[in-house]
Amino acid sequence: MIPAAFEYHRPKNVQDAIGILVEHGDEARVLAGGHSLIPMMKLRMAAIEHLVDLQDVDGLSGISIDGGRITIGAMTTQHELITHDGLATAAPILREAALQIADPQVRYVGTIGGNVANGDPGNDMPGLMQCLDASFTLVGPDGTREVAARDFYEAAYMTERSDEEILTAISFNATAGGYSYEKQKRKIGDYATAAAAVLLQKDGDTCTGASIAMTNLSDTPVFSEAAGAALTGTSVGKADIEAAVAAALSDIDPTEDNRGPVEFKRHVAAVVIARAITRAWSRA
């Protein structure tokens, strides 16, 4: 399994990388960690004429925490997310989710930018970014723009990013309260059968804010506003969790595949959402 021939580019800055994309249009693709794209190229399911390796591009990696705002460069690896002490305090749900992605070798090279930009509904970070209400920075020939993660995903592998743009950074607010990323998978390294990201804020015994999103349960990541609303103002008792799960299930549209039929996926979704809410509440 060897990829078809391509021309290899290794630009040193974002403008040069964009120049190559502009010149070659949809015949060019950027390469981050390569652990989604290279397998597709080996299977000849992706035909790339011009491969633009971003590893030498300055300023695309690193984590900065400025007051309550966190910015993560697109080329930052899952391993770097896991081992960053500041991030573990400012938004511990990142570490919890990243530890459930793939396996150690893949996490050393797999990047957060590739994970969110690829548009694969099986990837975990897009769902988490819905929960965090993150913003993506896109740089293209006409300049820089910010797109909300909740507006970014159109369909499987179809996103708001145009062919000539590069996703360079992700930013979101530091989290407060309880958090949980729960993922059901068949084995280590697998994509989710169902996964849920939950953030909850608590005042006394009352839930004062809730954000709930899901992974691999539709052709895009799912943010369920109704599920969050079902918990806000309650004491997150058994009936409240059931109401939130019911609301979340009405926002998903899973399809049958080798992880199981639709009915099974809805069952697993209900289990992981309830677990995520319970764990987040216990940490709030």
């Binding site: 399994m1 060897i2 990829p3 078809a4 021939a5 391509f6 021309e7 290899y8 290794r10 390469l31 390569g34 652990h35 290279i38 397998p39 190229m41 080996k42 491969l51 390796d53 590893q55 391993h79 793939a102 396996d103 150690p104 070798q105 893949v106 050393y108 090279v109 280590i188 390294g189």
Partner: protein
């Protein structure tokens, strides 16, 4: 066929200059051009970990790295862990504790375990299991692999203490 490129990388401490197509995978360059047949081709789909090598201080599956990406990199294969006169502590521990049966996964296991112990010199059994989760073994049930890695960690720590 695309134009060949001049690939320079340091492999097991030795500077290598090669002419490769950018699309060639690192595992094949190591095995077929440099005759380093320690890293194995197992699944070839990023699952099994038999092709694991160290690339710039990270464990990677070399079936999913383009040779071109390794331009300027430092690569270590299982061959780079031992000397002609002596096996590495991990290799001795795998022999001592029967950490292999057919041996196919072993170079990847040992290379991965080597990096794991660099980052976490004193792992728990659970940390070892989580740390080698990207390497599949179909023979041992992992019991003796985990035992071997824990034994090597203890030996390496004892040697370090003795040196201090």
């Amino acid at each position: 066929m695309s134009d060949k490129m001049h690939l320079k990388m340091t492999v097991n401490g030795k500077q290598e200059d090669l002419l490769v197509e950018p699309r060639e995978l690192l595992i094949y360059v190591l095995r077929e051009k440099l005759n380093l047949t320690g890293p194995h081709v197992g699944c070839e789909t990023t699952h099994c970990g038999a092709c694991t090598v160290e690339l710039n201080g990270k464990s990677v599956k070399s079936c999913t790295v383009l040779a071109a990406q390794a331009q300027g990199a430092e690569v270590t294969t299982v061959e780079g862990l031992s000397t002609p006169d002596d096996l590495h502590v991990l290799q001795k521990a795998f022999r001592e504790h029967h950490g292999l049966q057919c041996g196919f996964c072993t170079p990847g296991m040992i290379t991965r375990a080597h990096r794991l112990l660099q980052e976490n010199p004193n792992p728990t059994e659970e940390e070892v299991r989580f740390g080698i989760a990207g390497n599949l073994c179909r023979c041992t049930g992992y019991q003796n692999i985990v035992k071997s890695i824990l034994a090597a960690a203890a030996e390496m720590n004892a040697a370090k203490e003795a040196a201090e």
